[in-house]
Symmetry: none
Subunit: 317 residues, 2 copies
């Protein structure tokens, strides 16, 4: 995206203004039209643009009692230090729009901490959507580090890459990992890992105080496959070995134990590990991810979970 010079006579600034007047000031679109000196139709279009461009963020400042019970139960059952359950929007509906704002609030809570933290982020649709929901803030004291490489097979930065987006929002020092998500070979991985700058980023990521990750399923619709990081053959091979899910490219089985596959010997990023004083929070929801989530919880691969109501209920069933 090209950012325009700031003096510009407003491209979607009008949309922002309209959205502000509509949602914050509570004006009717008719009044907004008068305010902006335009037609009612245009005002309506501006308002709806403000939504579709994700300029408007909505948060729920109330913990629904049903969700609270699920959170407590999840924490108990899976030994979680943090459990957050967003109200579901309905069966069969993508839970991301519900999870993302909830997760964003949680990340912001971490960022508001006064003492400096190292915060690591994975990649994926969930995280990307979450970051889009975050507010801008000034967090010079923290460090934001990427868990995975952020260069895809064709050399382009992945669309779902999160680190730059988040760093942009919170204006904190950030450490991308300048290498592929998955190396061609173990040797190539070692080559990357032997580079000085990479080593310090790896160290930072490994020792991060808080880590936020998405979860990938290893069924036929695996994100790793969809995004072109592995081939259909590789996927089938790992399914045969019992692959149940994947975190930051690291594949694990239905007990939540990491597999000894050729892929895992080529993943360039760091493996998520929980430890005392260190949080690893999974952000995921939806039926396709149920198996992967359940396996990861069973193996205690993370000690935090942000999901939605229906997923939570299914996990507990």
């Amino acid at each position: 995206m090209i950012d325009r010079p700031e003096t510009e006579p407003t491209p979607l600034d009008d949309a922002a203004r309209a959205g502000w007047l509509y949602y914050v000031a509570g004006l009717t679109q008719d009044q907004i039209a008068r305010e902006l000196g335009t037609s009612r139709q245009r005002a309506q279009r501006l308002v709806s643009r403000a939504i579709s461009e994700r300029l408007i963020h909505v948060r729920l400042e109330h913990r629904v009692s049903g969700c609270l019970r699920l959170e407590a139960e999840l924490a108990r059952r899976f030994g979680l230090k943090l459990a957050r359950v967003a109200p579901s929007l309905g069966v069969g509906v993508d839970p991301l729009p519900s999870i993302a704002p909830t997760a964003a609030a949680e990340i912001e809570r971490v960022l508001r901490a006064a003492e400096p933290q190292v915060i690591a982020f994975g990649t994926g649709r969930s995280l990307r959507a979450t970051v889009e929901e975050m507010t801008s803030m000034e967090c010079e004291q923290h460090k934001i580090v990427s868990l995975n490489g952020n260069i895809s097979a064709d050399g382009s930065a992945s669309y779902y890459d999160v680190i730059f987006r988040i760093a942009d929002r919170v204006r904190a020092p950030h450490y991308p990992m300048p290498m592929p998500v998955i190396a061609q070979s173990t040797e190539e991985r070692e080559l990357f890992h032997s580079l000085k700058p990479v080593q310090s980023v790896l160290r930072l990521a490994r020792d991060a105080d808080v880590t936020f990750v998405g979860i990938g399923q290893m069924s036929d619709d695996a994100p790793l496959l969809k995004d072109g990081f592995i081939t259909a053959d590789e996927l089938r091979a790992m399914q045969a070995l019992g692959a149940a899910g994947e975190v930051a490219g690291w594949v694990y089985d239905s007990d939540g134990h990491y597999l000894e596959t050729s892929l895992n010997q080529r993943v360039a990023g760091v493996r998520v590990e929980v430890g005392e004083g260190r949080m690893a929070v999974a952000i995921a929801g939806g039926t396709p991810k149920l198996v992967a989530l359940a396996a990861g919880l069973k193996g205690r691969l993370f000690n935090g979970l942000i999901t939605d109501e229906l997923t939570a209920r299914a996990l507990l069933a």
Copy 2:
């Protein structure tokens, strides 16, 4: 329909859920009613309750959102009918390039009105820069009138004169004021004012529907001095009398009250006054003008303000 959890939801829980479904999932209140197993009216009441109980927080994530907040605050604090804050370009940078396009848009909005308006303009760098940003348009229905005389001491038309420029751009009937900005004496002023054609222009300017003016500071770098309308001695004398700023040549103190100086008895143009149905909009920004602006706002010399972000923040501090 989803089966409800076994615990009874508190009244607020339902409101929260309804609000979530409405704003996040984007369901209609009808769908929410079905989802919750209730009537449409109840769904509507739950949604509005979620707002009135402040369970739902709406925010705007856009770089101008801060400006909108400042506008609302300025309007509230200083009783303005119009407040516009342009995003600043940075500390220490001339804010004019940011203010001018914003102000130009505002002026154009007035000009687009179908019913005939009388629009008065002051002079100065800010207005001049603003006019340069305006697009051409056909506005035969309006009248454009100058607030001040537009002949400087040496007989030349002032470079910062605005009226001809604007009239040229919008092709509207225009009324310059054929006399000096500041007369040699009160008598000379009265002489000019007694002329028939001058009187009608004065009347037009005094009763203008909308007036746009710049603000001049009265510190040592006063525009009045720089442009040779007053001498350094005169400036010092007025500073001693508490001069804080000046609008169209009329000097006022830090409470926004016009001074009874010899200069004010010689200013040839009309004094800006707000009135019901009449707007007086100040276009100004930058550190040097802060004192003058604050004073003018305090004295309610104008009921509209177009400025930049940094200035707005300083005015509110």
